[in-house]
């Protein structure tokens, strides 16, 4: 059987990864001293001066002494974690705070193992469909994330009422739909005001909200352990876990499928660029929403309506 092994093609599988630089081209090379060392020196100088200038011009904030008894509203994490804080508003805390970032970092680390070709290596976006994939991925990620944020914050109701002329709030706005019956969001559609409304505005049978997992299904008492009393809230599970997970897994897959059918993405590098750019758009949208659009009580507001935290 060992003799069959080389038939699998070039021996790339174990240890024999081709060298990145099969032959040296001396005439293409420069000496590190002075060509690189001086560039590094100059850029270190420029950035030292830039940061010192920045430090002279803008002071780091120092607010009042910490007071655990006095919670500011809104209280926010550092800006680079506001994307996670934003996610927390939309799904189960364990999902947003731990599982999504962990799974994401593992997938991010695994990128080179999904895309193992040498295609497009070492040059900016040099594969044929790189730019279209980047642009489509970024736009879909940004717009899609914003659409989900707006939906889950119930702001599509505001948009709807603007179009149907809610006389109280928009005096000078011409009505686009004049039908009396359509002026307000119909009560029968209350379950479409946010994802959470699926739980609160649908008459779920009471037994679905308290499924006794611990007593009926997971019989820990049969193992000699105390009898569990876990109760499974099915509607909450749908809203907090099933829908977010399905969206976060399903929408990227859907985007890949559509891109594949349209001929936008063909190689693995294409799909990588599409997904990475989609993530980038989504990540920026979440960070922006968390930083600039969340006001008191973490309500979704316009940036100019957001006031600094009061404690």
């Amino acid at each position: 059987m060992v003799a069959d092994a080389p038939a699998r093609g070039p021996s790339r599988s174990r240890g024999a990864v081709p060298s990145a630089r099969p032959r040296r081209q001396r005439e293409e090379e420069l000496l590190v001293w002075p060509d690189l060392v001086f560039v590094e020196f100059i850029s270190a100088l420029v950035f030292t001066l830039t940061f010192v200038a920045l430090a002279i011009l803008i002071n780091a904030p120092l607010q009042d002494r910490a007071n655990p008894a006095n919670t500011p509203n809104p209280s926010k994490a550092p800006w680079y974690f506001l994307n996670l804080q934003e996610l927390l508003l939309h799904m189960h805390p364990a999902l947003a705070g731990v599982i999504v970032p962990t799974v994401f970092l593992i997938i991010l680390g695994a990128v080179p193992f999904f895309d193992t070709s040498n295609e497009g290596q070492g040059q900016w976006l040099s594969t044929p469909r790189a730019w279209p994939n980047l642009i489509v991925g970024f736009i879909v990620g940004t717009v899609g994330t914003w659409a989900l944020i707006i939906y889950n914050s119930g702001k599509h109701i505001v948009v709807f009422e603007r179009f149907t002329f809610d006389a109280d709030s928009f005096d000078n706005f011409p009505p686009l739909i004049v039908d009396e019956r359509l002026r307000e969001w119909p009560e029968s559609l209350n379950w479409l005001t946010s994802v959470r409304a699926l739980q609160t505005d649908i008459a779920w049978p009471g037994e679905l909200e308290t499924i006794p997992l611990g007593e009926t299904f997971v019989r820990t008492d049969l193992l000699g352990l105390p009898r569990g009393s876990i109760q499974w809230n099915f509607p909450a599970w749908i809203v907090e876990q099933a829908i977010p997970v399905n969206l976060m897994v399903g929408l990227p897959i859907l985007l890949c499928l559509v891109a594949w059918r349209l001929g936008l993405a063909k190689t693995r590098r294409d799909f990588m660029i599409l997904m990475f750019s989609g993530w980038l758009g989504s990540y920026l949208a979440l960070t922006m929403a968390g930083t600039y659009f969340r006001g008191e009580g973490l309500e979704l507001l316009w940036p100019w309506e957001v006031r600094p935290a009061e404690s």
Binding site: V17, P18, S19, A20, E28, E29, L30, L31, W33, D35, L36, V37, V39, S43, F47, T48, L54, A55, I56, N59, P61, L62, Q63, D64, R65, A66, N67, P68, N70, S75, K76, A77, P78, Y80, F81, L84, Q85, L88, P93, A94, A96, G97, V98, L105, G109, V111, P112, D115, T116, N118, E119, Q121, G122, Q123, W124, L125, S126, T127, I273, S311
Partner: protein
């Protein structure tokens, strides 16, 4: 005749250079003169402790600014700058709930250049988070994670996490409202995991709420623990760049 005479009126710069360089003290530090020949220039890089992480020659395209925008190097530069300003800040800061905030105020008002040091440290910290993220984008879009550089991409992801953790642990130290509540919100996120969350949060902040234990833990991690780990990963990261054949370029 004239040919045997010492040349008269050499430029002042030349004489100064000779005076500085041609003496036993200077020569004991730097044994060679300015490296004028390619051979000496390569030796200068290969034999200098600070420069020898570089190869002696690199491909022509690698010094083009638009290829990398120096983002990885900038991240490292900011790490060094943060170390220097951070050490200076440590002189004036005591990580105790009673003193931390007072020390911050004293640093800003009583210490000469204290405000400048603190500002530089803070803006460099924000800058480093941004440059590390942008460096990752550069590496991705230039396809530089492809074989044989897979492992270095993973090391890079670890360094990204370490950068965020370094910034996060430093965020608590001023002990003002902003710091306290940002860390409370941040660690509550970790605590929200129903399985290990509470344990993790307890270990991280050393109690049920952010207090003295959290402050000393964050301080120790911020000034010693995480920088050491980051330095180790950086060493591997830079070494692997060379072992993997320098920066990625088309095959």
């Amino acid at each position: 005749m004239a040919t045997t005479e010492r040349p008269q009126g050499r430029p002042l710069a030349d004489r100064l250079y000779d005076f500085t360089v041609n003496n036993r003290v200077w020569r004991s530090i730097i044994r060679t003169g300015y490296p004028n020949t390619p051979r000496n220039q390569m030796l200068a890089v290969a034999t200098n402790v600070f420069l020898h992480l570089h190869p002696t020659r690199i491909h022509r395209t690698h010094v083009k600014i638009t290829h990398t925008y120096c983002l990885g190097g900038l991240s490292f530069f900011l790490f060094l700058g943060l170390t220097i300003t951070g050490v200076l800040l440590m002189f004036y800061y005591v990580p105790s709930v009673e003193r931390a905030y007072q020390d911050m105020q004293a640093l800003q008002t009583d210490v000469r250049f204290g405000m400048l040091m603190r500002n530089t440290h803070r803006w460099m910290a924000h800058g480093m988070v941004i440059t590390v993220l942008m460096h990752m984008m550069r590496v991705f879009y230039t396809g530089a994670y492809k074989p044989p550089r897979e492992f270095n991409w993973i090391v890079g992801v670890v360094l990204l996490v370490l950068t965020l953790l370094l910034s996060f642990t430093g965020y608590l130290l001023p002990w003002d409202e902003l710091a306290f509540w940002a860390i409370t919100v941040g660690t509550n996120m970790i605590g929200s995991d129903p399985v290990l969350g509470e344990v993790n949060q307890f270990v991280m902040i050393g109690g049920f709420e952010v207090g003295q234990n959290a402050l000393i833990r964050f301080y120790t991690l911020h000034v010693v623990g995480l920088p050491l780990i980051a330095a180790i990963f950086m060493a591997v990261h830079f070494w692997r760049i060379r072992r993997d054949g320098g920066l990625a370029r088309p095959l």
